[in-house]
Symmetry: C2
Subunit: 437 residues, 2 copies
């Protein structure tokens, strides 16, 4: 080979522990509050919807948390994931920058989401849970949990945001193939869903509404617990396998990243790639620029307030200290269903407040332009969500060309776009708008 383009980790180098950034934040993370008393929530309050072992993990501040063997056995299906150098994209941009990407699309569901779905299903199984309820946007999370539940023998019910249910029919089929039950949200099967439909029968849904429905389902069905695919501390924790692998793989590549980029919706894939690097930034004084990229039409971290807000529309969750557009915010029907969330993971919000990361946003047409260029140079069709990261990477790489400076850029390609191809069709046929109605 002309140059080394792929950096494969040995199976024995797969992480054995998750990395917990909570242990290293220079200021403690503000705790979740009870909406009535405004006091920090106790573990007992959270066990109504989560099993005790995951509540303990949510509140744990140990720096390293062991990954159970049973989880590592399933991770082995797709981990370690590849780190690749995007030389053909570099060439197309005529940039002196070196662009690397971590590719999470090799998982069974096609994204990073199984990294947390598998441990969540495992800990629930251990705790005696029989059935998991969840929400999903684009369906990446719902399909990942459907897969994980099937592997550990749990039932799975998914409330899928209605606009995505319609835009991404294959995701629904995927969940059903893994044996899950899927309802379009707002649905007729919960009180809150019926209430929303009564107010607006054409309601497209949102992650906030779907979360409310899944929580209502949980508290009404004995043996059922709730599972969330982003936002929470334990979800960010599980995703750190991505960044830990990337650190070792960048060492194999013999370069250190100047800039690290990830897209953000709830924040989980961004946390996964960036938190281990942020740990190095805090403890070892490393000088990384770390950039979170979100949709211009759902701009929680770039334009939202940093304040306590509900995680869901029906006000059933504790209050979380996070960047938020307000829990009643109804995001437009963009194709990046995984990024249509009013809030931002408290840990990601905290990292932004402490100046450890930056944030930016792009409109829909720009990110599809970036996605098509990536597909046509590198060969992988990216999901619309990581196209946000790609748009930011291209902007950085073009700046490098203009300034004649080499930089090393790393981003997380958190999923492929095989089930998002109708969105590419809409873009390529010129019918896409920045904000869909």
């Amino acid at each position: 080979m002309s140059e080394r383009l792929r950096f494969t980790l040995a199976d024995t180098d797969a992480p054995r522990q998750w990395y917990n950034l909570l242990a290293d934040f220079p200021e403690p993370l503000p705790p979740p509050l009870h909406p009535g008393t405004k006091e920090p929530v106790t573990p007992e309050m959270m066990t109504a919807i989560f099993p005790e072992n995951l509540v303990a993990q949510e509140m744990c501040s140990d720096r390293w948390v062991d990954i159970p063997d049973e989880v590592r056995d399933i991770y082995a299906l797709w981990r370690p994931t590849p780190l690749l150098r995007a030389v053909r994209l570099e060439k197309a941009l005529q940039t002196p920058a070196h662009i690397y990407y971590k590719y999470e699309g090799v998982s069974p569901a096609g994204s990073h989401k199984p990294n947390t779905a598998v441990p969540q299903a495992y800990y629930n199984k251990l705790a005696g849970t029989k059935r998991l309820a969840t929400e999903t946007g684009a369906g990446q999370w719902g399909s990942s949990l459907a897969f994980a539940c099937k592997v550990f023998g749990l039932e799975c019910v998914v409330y899928m945001v209605k606009v995505s249910f319609q835009q991404k029919p294959y995701r629904k089929l995927m969940m059903q193939t893994w044996g899950a039950t899927v309802h379009p949200s707002p649905s007729e099967v919960t009180d809150f869903g019926r209430k929303m439909l009564a107010e607006d029968p054409h309601c497209n849904g949102s992650l906030g509404i779907a979360i409310s429905e899944a929580i209502e389902d949980t508290v009404k069905h004995p043996g059922t617990k709730y599972s969330l695919g982003s936002v929470l501390n334990h979800v960010c924790l599980h995703q750190t396998v991505i960044g830990q692998e990337a650190i070792k793989q960048m060492e194999l590549a013999g370069e250190a990243p100047d800039v690290i980029v990830g897209c953000v919706g709830g924040g989980s894939n961004f946390a996964g790639i960036s938190f281990p690097f942020i740990g190095q930034k805090i403890k070892a004084g490393k000088n990384y620029r770390i950039i979170a990229v979100e949709p211009e039409s759902c701009p929680s971290i770039t334009k939202g307030d940093l304040r306590y807000d509900f995680g869901d529309t029906a006000e059933m969750t504790p209050l979380l200290m996070m960047h938020t557009l307000g829990h009643k915010f109804m995001p437009p029907s963009i194709h990046s269903g995984g990024l249509r969330y009013h809030g931002m993971a408290p840990m990601v919000s905290h990292a932004r407040k402490l100046g450890l990361i930056e944030a930016t946003s792009f409109p829909q047409l720009k990110i599809f332009e970036a996605g098509v260029l990536f597909a046509r140079t590198e060969g992988i069709v990216p999901a619309p969500e990581p196209c946000h990261a790609i748009a930011a990477v291209i902007e950085e790489a073009v700046k490098c060309r203009e300034e004649g400076r080499k930089k090393v850029i790393l981003f997380n390609l958190c999923g492929h776009g095989m089930l998002d191809l109708p969105a590419y069709d809409t873009y390529l046929s010129g019918k896409m708008k920045d904000v869909e109605d």
Copy 2:
């Protein structure tokens, strides 16, 4: 981890040469014949539709052929591919057998097809070709060639069997995202397509018809060459990276396969996994059972004659010595579009004649039953084509249980089924038949 389940090859262990079984067959392969003279075709005759360098490779009998650096650079996007142990399937079957699978679904197009699309595009580029024409069944091949053409800067036109064009719309979108032009076949853009449509306006198409259209397109457009995704010697050659990697990975696993299984349509993924093992069988006296598995409704290798026949419906190709159902055979509209071919690769046919491999077939409902079991235990949703291999593996593994014998079974999981999910939906909703009308 409880037991090692993943066997990752180092990047430096990726094959640097393709393995050519032609060098080791105990009897020479009967040559392709000119349909008029019945004399062996000369290289000159083949250069009407193929570039000289690929014609030379088609006729080459060197045991090892170097893989160009430019091809290895692109292979690095997804190769080496994983070898995995299917412990959860073993457990579900309560079998003492150890089941391993080589997973080719991690490629950009989701199957093994880019293994030959990339070198074909590369050699054509080198030879000055501007545009490649091809046919595709399920779309795995067409999308792989679209990807490879885009990477090397060639135009790409694909004639896609009409029933698959309708069943698998996402495959068409994938080709378009990579910049290819896609026509449903029979199409209105070739004489032969128009003739077929005049005879039967509802004709579902077949690989044989689509090949005829692509060849007609090739000879009528200057600068255009034809590319075939299976059947030919050079295609089988390119796919041997699969089996070469698998041999090294089985060594990592510390076991030798007793049984090696692959599905067959034109024969390319089967050739890929099996030819390097057949080489060992011939030269090192290894005692592998090697099984080719095809659809019961398109049974070329189990029920077809071994004789000279055309590769296409319009009788434009040379005559090939192969197992065939006759070049006018119209296969039923099963969901395994990649296996709807009347013939079988001459090299695979020859291996069968020499007793180096066995063959068997399964009906459609049986293979989807196997695919769903695999998806729900192992977690990967397989394409319908390799579900044929899985059905045979399950049969073997159950026999092991019944006989109380441990065997080591290896199969090629040549692609995932993400773009075949509507077929799973048809199966799970009870609407599938063994033979669709």
